[in-house]
Amino acid sequence: MAVKVHIHTTHRQFTNGLELVGAEGNTVGECLSHLIKQFPGMDKALFAKKDKLLNNVEVYLNHTSAYPDELLKPVKDGDDIHLVVMLTGG
């Protein structure tokens, strides 16, 4: 399945400035693995360890929260994955 991954502002330094990256896989996790193959810097930006997202990373699939078990969520051709960083400032 081919999906579109929307990269958060703070992560674009790892994607050569790209806001939108194509990725393939059957689940969100597989698509993120494919994203990291293309842009290895995204690994540390997203994951605390293997299969464990950083606590401040939120994943939305087709504009809906993929929480919990985000990485296991199945995807279809044309789906949109948004990677968003939680904000804490005020």
Binding site: N55, Y60, Y67, V85, L87, T88, G90
Partner: protein, 247 residues
């Protein structure tokens, strides 16, 4: 019942069809607590005071620093070193003497939060850290007081509204602690998000419009875009889910 002076003062918003004198009366009878008198708290407090909320309680333990002035527009150069709540109260009283302003210079903790928000119809999140936001979120759910969340970083911000027992809360997507860091921000970002939070509070109190419930609004000031994401109430949430109710 509005006085002639109030009818004159709020004339332009009373003219809004959904609002009217009835809506103004509801604001006059409302009590709102704003947690934080900083970047977000400034526009929230200013617009809620201007709108004519009956009582606004501002809670902040901090003092004004020079580095606050790029965004915390309630505080001016002459206020550096002053308690933020004292600075805020002075400005808000000058803006609208019809509004009761309560200024509380305390740190919000699990121990005092219930007392700090007691008697209020709305809790507005204008904090600068996640742990205190969760303290407020839990208290809001326990006391069944609507909670209006906002947060910023750089040119970006987000907002959502929580109706306890009905909609997703701030904790529903919790995965663990997030490191606390000094955050970059330009004043116009909390200006936008704080204005959205104030809008939500006014809509809720008057009972009009569609609230930002089960929706997360993300604003990107660099692109000037608003994105909306659907949130789901988490039945296992330790604040608002079934496990919380058993505790």
């Amino acid at each position: 019942m509005l006085t002639p002076s109030e009818r004159e003062r709020y004339d332009r918003q009373i003219l809004i069809r959904e609002f009217g004198q009835e809506g103004q009366g509801k604001l006059k009878r409302s009590r709102v607590v704003i947690a934080g008198a900083g970047g977000l708290g400034s526009p929230i407090a200013l617009y809620l005071t201007a709108a004519g909320i009956g009582m606004i309680r501002v809670v902040d333990h901090d003092r004004v620093a020079l580095s606050n002035l790029n965004r915390q527009v309630l505080h001016w150069e002459e206020d550096v070193g002053r308690k933020k709540v004292d600075s805020a109260r002075a400005k808000l009283r000058n803006l609208n003497s019809m509004v009761e302003i309560q200024a509380i210079a305390e740190t919000i903790t699990e121990q005092n939060v219930s007392e700090l928000v007691d008697g209020c119809d709305a809790i507005v999140d204008a904090m600068d850290n996640l742990p205190t936001r969760y303290v407020l979120n839990r208290c809001a759910i326990e006391k069944k007081i609507p909670f209006f969340h906002g947060a910023v970083n750089g040119f970006e911000g987000r907002a959502m509204t929580v109706l306890p027992g009905e909609t997703a809360c701030l904790r529903c997507m919790y995965r663990g602690l997030v490191p606390q860091e000094k955050f970059p921000v330009i004043g116009v970002a909390p200006a936008v998000i704080g204005s959205i939070q104030a809008t939500e509070v006014i809509k809720y109190l008057v009972g009009i419009g569609k609230l930002l419930t089960n929706r997360l609004l993300i604003y990107d000031g660099l692109k000037v875009t608003f994105s909306e994401f659907r949130l789901n109430k988490n039945p296992n949430c330790d604040h608002c889910g079934s496990s919380a109710e058993k505790e």
